[in-house]
Every structure is written in C-alpha cells, then in structure tokens.
C-alpha cells in the first residue's frame, strides 16, 4: 500500500451528535432520536441519519466508526486527547496530528505553501504545535472563502495594490533596507534569515501558490456543488490544496455544541456539511486523488443520547464522550464499512471500542508514519508519535498494513 500523500481533517468543533449523524436509532424512543429517522445508503445494510442524504449516495467511499470512546467530557481536554492521542500532564505539551504529519511530510513536500494549512480559523484554546514551536505553525487562512474575492491574509497583496505597485514597493524596499551587520558579526545569521524568509515570501505571493486560493478559477457549477457557504467553499479550497500537494489540511467547522435547541442547529449544520463532504469525496474520486488522500471527520466527542426537552435546553443535547462516531475515507482506508456498534440508545459501544489513539494511529499508519517511532524534533525529546503500547486497537479492518 502506498502511503497517503495528503490528509483533509474536517473538525466538528463542539462535538456533533452521533445519533443525528452516523449512528441513528430509529427504533429508540423519541427522547433519544427526536422522532427522526434513518435512511439507507448505496451500501446495503449501512444506514445513516436522514439529514445526510448526499453522503447516503456515496457510502461506498467512506467508512464509519460507531464505537469511538473516551472519558473526557470537557471541550479542551477532549480536543487535546482526540488531536494528540494523549492526556494532558507530564510537563509536556504534545503537537496535534496535523502538526506531526506536516512536520514529517515536509521533507518530501516540494510546494511553496506551508505544509499545514487551516481553513479558516484555528481551533484555539490549545496550541496545536505543542513543543514543536512556532516553526511548525500552520498557515491559518482567515477570510471568507464564500466571498466574491477570497483573500487569504498575507498570501496575496491587499485589494487595490496592483502587481506593478508591489514591484515598485519592492524596488524601493531594496534601496531602503540598508541595515546590514558585518559579515563576521553575530547578527549575520539573523539578517540572512530575514532575507531568505523575504525571498521565500515573495516567491509564494507571486507564484502559483497564491492561485490555489483563487476560487474564481473554479467553474460556477463546481462552486455551487460544494455549497455557497463557508464550509462548502472551504472544502473546495481544501481540494485545491490537495491537488497542490499540501500534506495536511484542516477545515474547522464550528457550531456543533448544541446544548440548547439542538435540532434546529443540527438540521442547518448537517445540510451544509452533508453536501460539502459528499461533493469533496466524489470530486477527489473523479480526479483520481481519493486513493492518495485521507479524509477524516470527527469532533472531540458526541452528544448525550437522551434529549433534554425542558427549559432551558428546549430540546438540547449535552457533551458525551463514552460513545460517539467518526468518519474516515480514502488514502488506503476501505469504504462502505461500519466499525463497531453501540447499544440501543447509543450510550455505550457494544463491541470493538475505538480509543482516540487507535483512530489517530490508523491515520498515521496510512500516511506511512510509524506511530511507535520517535517524533522528529530539534529539542532532543525521545517521545513516540503516540503513547507506547497503543497499537493493538488500530483499525486494521479498514486498511492493509504495509510490510
């Protein structure tokens, strides 16, 4: 099996309900399923929630894990656990999976854009780069991909400054930036770093890299297919980044923390994301990129199976980590498979529990990264990519292990 070249992470910040996504319980009481149904997919026997009709049409492209489980009910700790495979503490702050994969893959990556790109905002609340430090920091696009002109802060000049005006600026800058340490000075290295970084930045903003973010190069039809909203257009940018070769792309989709009026929120959020991710999978497939690209989607946990109908929740769901779902596709992962199962109310995994490190370990493995190897770093730290002895639970039913 050839290792995946790129990863697209779709992070459902806040924790999406597993019942209302990939683990519907149509036979359970309304207190659990809200009176909503399941629909069948194009894979016989595989059902998902009725609010995900587009994904139902292409279930052969992805697999579902219905027995994700851990025991952290707070957003930050659960996010850290789902992103690093470790619990906080021990005087060490570990980098998230995006930082690890991009740092390892940057050696073989030839593009001008940073190897780790986040659309459009960071998760926040914890430092994704951990002990790697600022050098591993992702490019966070900011901006609104759904706007007529999607401007990534810093990649292209601001509106109103023409390429010629930029050239004029650079030529004046060359005249004015004259502070220069003596060649044998202790400052020579810093000055050289400043200049090299500047040359690299100029190359990025004037070359093809900047075009990756220019959605006007896509057809109107293609933009419509992804959905004309931030989520949809972010996933379209993600596909362009995959084509460009960026090793790790995260699309943070916030808004799943639906303590109150859950069903209203969920319906709206599902509609956008259903269309966007189904289009992404089919688009990658048709471009021949799905085999080399892992797409995964999860939040930090699921939501309470039982609905809180009374005020102040008015039909809300709380945090729930004991059982939740995740989706994984492409890059060596088989499609059309359901891993694990939950009980009648989706409260506990019935069998095949999958811990965060099992899930992450499988993604690492499909990227050709040994989760038990020492994490590359300049600080002399001898720590493995994932905690030692966490190999047993990896999703080997979904991928063929390379020799």
């Amino acid at each position: 099996m050839k290792p995946a070249r790129s990863v697209v992470e779709i992070w459902q910040w806040g924790g999406p309900s597993h019942i209302d996504t990939f683990d519907p319980k149509p036979k359970a009481d309304r207190d659990y399923n809200g009176g909503l149904k399941a629909i069948s997919t194009n894979v016989p026997g595989m059902e998902i929630h009725e609010w995900w009709p587009e994904l139902a049409k292409c279930a052969n492209l992805y697999s579902i894990i219905r027995s994700m489980t851990h025991s952290e009910f707070g957003h930050e700790t659960a996010t850290y656990l789902m992103q690093t495979g470790r619990m906080p503490g021990g005087g060490e702050v570990y980098p998230a999976i995006g930082a690890v994969i991009s740092q390892i893959k940057r050696k073989s990556y030839k593009g001008d854009l940073p190897p780790y790109v986040i659309l459009t905002r960071e998760k926040g609340r914890f430092s994704e780069v951990g002990f790697f430090g600022a050098a591993a920091a992702p490019l966070v696009t900011g901006g609104r991909p759904n706007a007529p002109h999607f401007s990534v802060e810093g990649i292209v000049p601001p509106e109103g400054i023409s390429p010629n005006a930029m050239l004029e600026r650079f030529s004046m800058l060359d005249e004015l930036d004259t502070w220069k340490p003596a060649a044998n000075s202790c400052n020579a290295g810093q000055a050289a770093l400043f200049d090299t970084a500047g040359q690299e930045a100029r190359r990025i903003s004037s070359g093809d890299a900047a075009k990756v973010f220019d959605l006007s190069l896509e057809s109107k039809d293609m933009r419509d297919r992804y959905g004309r909203n931030i989520t949809g257009q972010s996933l379209l940018v993600a596909r362009r980044l995959v084509e460009y070769g960026v090793p790790y792309i995260t699309v943070n989709v916030p808004g799943w923390d639906s303590h109150k009026r859950h069903f209203e929120t969920m319906r709206r959020k599902s509609q956008e994301l259903d269309l966007a991710i189904a289009t992404l999978l089919q688009d990658l497939k048709s471009k021949g990129l799905l085999d080399s690209t892992i797409v995964w989607m999860s939040g930090e946990f699921g939501r309470t199976p039982k609905v809180g109908w009374d005020a102040p929740w008015n039909g809300g769901r709380g945090h729930y980590a004991r059982c939740f779902s995740a989706l994984v596709a492409g890059g060596g992962f088989k499609g059309g498979i359901v891993v694990g199962a939950s009980d009648d109310t989706a409260s506990r995994p019935l069998y095949r529990p999958v811990a965060p490190q099992d899930f992450l370990g499988s993604i690492y493995a499909c990227c050709g990264i040994d989760p038990d190897a020492i994490m590359p770093n300049d600080l002399g730290k001898r720590v493995t990519v994932l905690p030692p002895q966490s190999s047993a639970g990896r999703l080997r039913e979904l991928y063929a292990e390379s020799a």
Binding site: M172, D177, N184, N187, A188, Q190, D378
Partner: protein
C-alpha cells in the same frame, strides 16, 4: 537536614540555557575587524559603539517594551546633556510601561493563562498577574518573592501566590519540583535529574489542592508538616549562588540572548531593576550591532503589535469566548498588558507569542519566518494601519485639518522616520523616496498624492530589518 544536600549535589549540573535556538541569537562576539558600510554612521560610531538613535530605541524596547514616539526620540537625540542616558534609564525603570512589559515576561515563565493545559481560570489569572506586577513595579527581591510563592497557601482568588501551585499542568509534588527547578534554577524538566526532582518533590509531600463551593475557587493547603520553608532555606539561604546565577542569566538572556552567560553570580540583592540598570549601563550594552557585536533581537510579537497599533492610532479588541462568562478587555488595551496567555489572536501566534504552556524560554518564537514576512508584505489589516500611520485619523479634531497633512513632503518623510525608526532619514534615503515621487509625476499629476507614496514608504520601513529588530 540530609547532609547529602550539599549545594553541589543539590543544584549542581549544567544550567539550562543552552536550550535557546541558536538561530535566534548568535554567539556574542567581541568588537572585531571593522568593515566598510555605506551608511554605518546612522547606527554606529567609529569606535563601534551605537549612536544615540539606536540607543534610545534599544532602551525603550528593552525597558519599556515599546518603541519611542517621534518626540521622545527627537528630544533624546538632540539633548546635549552628558548624563542623558542615565537619566532616561531611571525614567524608564520607574515607568508604568516598564512594569507592564516586565510583568509580561515573568508571566510567561510563570505560565499565567486561564485555559488548557494550565487552567488557572480568569479570576486567578488576574489576581496572580497583579501580584507579579507588584513584584516588578516595587522591585521586590527575587528570592523574597520566590519564598512567598513557594510557601504560599490559601484561596486562588485571594492569596495570589498560591497560584504558583496551580499554574502547572501537573499538580503533584513532582510537578511542583519541576516548576521550582525551572523557575528558580533554570533547569527545564527534561534536563532535571530524577534524583534531584525526587528530593525537591519531597518538600512538597503534604501540599494539596481542594475545591470550594465557589465556582473555580481552589484552596492550596498543607496536610501534615509543611517542609517548604526548608526548601526555601536551601534555595535562597546563604550564598544562594545557583538561584542568583539563574536569575541573572534569565535577565541577561532576555537582553543579550543565550550567548551571554554570567560568569559569577551578581553581588548584592537580586532586584530586577537594579540588575537591569547595571546591564544597560555596562559598556557591553553600548555597543553597535553592525560591527560592534551587539546581538539583535526580533521584536516580541506583543511589542510589534503595539508598535504598529500605536503608530496607526488603532487597537485590537481582545475578548475570550471561553470560558463563560465571556471576557472582554477594555478597548485600546496594549497587547503587552494582556494578562491572560489564553487571550490571543492570529497575529500573536504568527509572531511567536509564547503559549505559556510550559514556561520555557524557547516557547517564545523570535525567528523571522516566511509566513511573517508574507503578513508584513500583504496583510490587508496592516495595509489599513499603514494608511493610518501616514495620516493618523486621531489627529483630526473638529474642522481643523490634520497638521501632518499640511506639512511639506520632505517634512512628512522626516516625521515618518522619527516615529518609526527614532532617527531622521539619511540624504540617500530622502533622495530615493523623492526620486520615486518624481518618477510617479508627483506635484504634476493631480491623481498622484503624497498619501500613497508615504504609505509605500511606511510599508518599506515596516519591512526593514531596522524596524523588525531591536538593533
């Protein structure tokens, strides 16, 4: 007392200061061979010492955590008093800016942040920050302050020092041993000998933390015999050589970078202002950075942000949506003054503001990266700010025209240089800028305005090494 706890056995071993990334600061060098530089005289005198313009900017950045205003720079440079540098040192050391900036530095190493993985939570952050600011502003001795931290107990809301025991992601005797070794001996956890860690941890064996019925209030207390005073006697009693060396190195490295390590511990008391005063009045500090070997440092993320905001009379709104209830900082709050390491933004992350997760010096990124330069080249936000630097809207009042806009172009160029670089432009720089003006048809074509030219000049200055570095 265990007789094995001799100073050497207890605190011996290498200090941690080798962990700084080499690329941030090169090794200090002695003034060496002079090299010809076409414009060196702006920055350096023939003897290799720095000019007044360099010194005034350097001192403001190091002591006050900000660049001097145009007026402050002009006044200093044109002052003929032979004691003007000493005077300025004392003025700055007693300023609020000094207290703000150096509090930020100490909050970095003491991990003052609300959220993950430290989880001090907002109330405790503000109480602890205020206490650290008192230490800085009142020039408390470091060892006396250390003793209040290490022996603290009580509520995190009322007994600020007790937060020393909460501001770590490992609230156990081992975790506190690591925090102690790192803060007072300069030994990072990954270099701390297990035996030493165990010994220090033994002094914390009875320390516990319990919750109260008040939301996020916690009480630090000692169950059994409190042995922490003994630890303080070991650390701070007698010669306290290791603590003194570590403290001086902390300060020296913030000023000179890790190439500079004190050979012998400082004489006298360990007081921040006194130590800084000695450092900035030393001949070492007066050297130039072209041939003189004074090491440059990229402006801290917070300081750079404040510089651009102040120059452009703009500000950022700081708020935190987590935890509830939301935190909103007052508008126009300088970034250096933001108490909570959890309240941040993309700019600060990009320019290496430390996450305050570990408190280690290497958490602060001070390298220049391509991503940073992309921001400085192309950012839309910066573009707006540059426009405001050239024509500060705050200067308009009533129907009066902005006085800056009334100045003739050469004066406006001078004004920009003083405000941004604490010096006037050289004849060559003036010539370059006016050359561009003429080439564009300035003064002839009606649609060619000084505003765009000056905005381009401001863009250039922001992108020079002289602006980005403390030289």
């Amino acid at each position: 007392m265990d007789t094995n706890l001799t100073r050497r056995a207890f605190f011996g071993g290498t200090m941690a200061w080798t962990v700084w990334p080499k690329s941030v600061f090169g090794a200090l060098q002695q003034p060496g061979e002079r090299q010809q530089h076409p414009q060196a005289s702006i920055w350096e005198k023939p003897d290799g010492s720095a000019t007044d313009s360099v010194m005034v900017r350097r001192l403001y950045l190091d002591l006050a955590g900000r660049i001097p205003t145009g007026d402050e720079a002009r006044t200093y440079v044109h002052d003929s008093d032979g004691k003007k540098f000493e005077t300025l040192v004392d003025v700055l050391l007693s300023s609020q800016d000094f207290a703000n900036y150096w509090t930020m530095r100490f909050c970095d190493i003491l991990r003052v942040k609300s959220e993950f993985p430290i989880n001090l939570w907002p109330n405790a952050v503000y109480v602890y920050h205020a206490r650290i600011r008192n230490f800085v502003e009142r020039n408390e001795a470091w060892d006396a302050f250390g003793r209040t931290l290490l022996t603290a107990q009580g509520s995190d809301f009322r007994d600020a020092e007790a937060n020393f025991f909460r501001a770590t992601d490992m609230r156990t005797p081992e975790g506190w041993a690591e925090a102690t070794a790192q803060t007072f001996l300069g030994i990072p956890p990954y270099k701390l000998e297990p035996a030493l860690k165990k010994k220090i941890a033994s002094f914390f064996s009875g320390v516990k933390i319990k919750e109260t019925r008040e939301w996020k209030e916690e009480i630090v207390y000692v169950d059994g015999i409190d042995k922490r005073g003994e630890l303080c006697d070991l650390l701070f009693g007698g010669q306290r050589t290791d603590v003194a060396l570590a403290f001086e190195n902390t300060i020296r490295h913030w000023i000179f970078g890790p190439g500079s390590t004190a050979v012998k511990p400082p004489a006298g008391e360990l007081r921040l202002k006194d130590m800084l005063r000695n450092i900035v009045l030393s001949p070492e500090y007066a050297r130039g950075s072209i041939t003189g070997g004074f090491p440059v440092r990229r402006l801290d993320a917070e300081v750079l942000d404040d510089a651009i905001c102040t120059l452009s009379d703009s500000s950022r709104d700081y708020q935190s949506p987590a935890p509830e209830p939301f935190t909103f900082l007052p508008p126009k709050r300088a970034t250096v003054c933001v108490e909570d390491g959890s309240i941040t933004n993309g700019f600060l992350t990009l320019f290496g503001r430390p996450a305050r997760d570990t408190g280690l010096p290497e958490e602060r990124g001070q390298d220049v990266t391509a991503k940073q330069r992309l921001y400085l080249f192309n950012s839309g936000k910066l573009h707006q700010q540059l426009g405001r630097i050239v024509a500060p809207p705050g200067k308009f009042s009533g129907n009066k025209p902005n006085p800056i806009l009334q100045m003739p172009l050469p004066k406006r160029i001078d004004d920009l240089y003083w405000r941004m670089l604490a010096r006037e432009p050289t004849p060559r720089e003036r010539q370059t800028i006016l050359g561009v003006w003429q080439k564009r048809g300035g003064g002839k074509k009606r649609n060619v305005r000084p505003f765009e030219l000056l905005r381009d000049v401001a863009w250039c200055i922001v992108n020079t090494k002289e602006f980005i570095f403390r030289t």
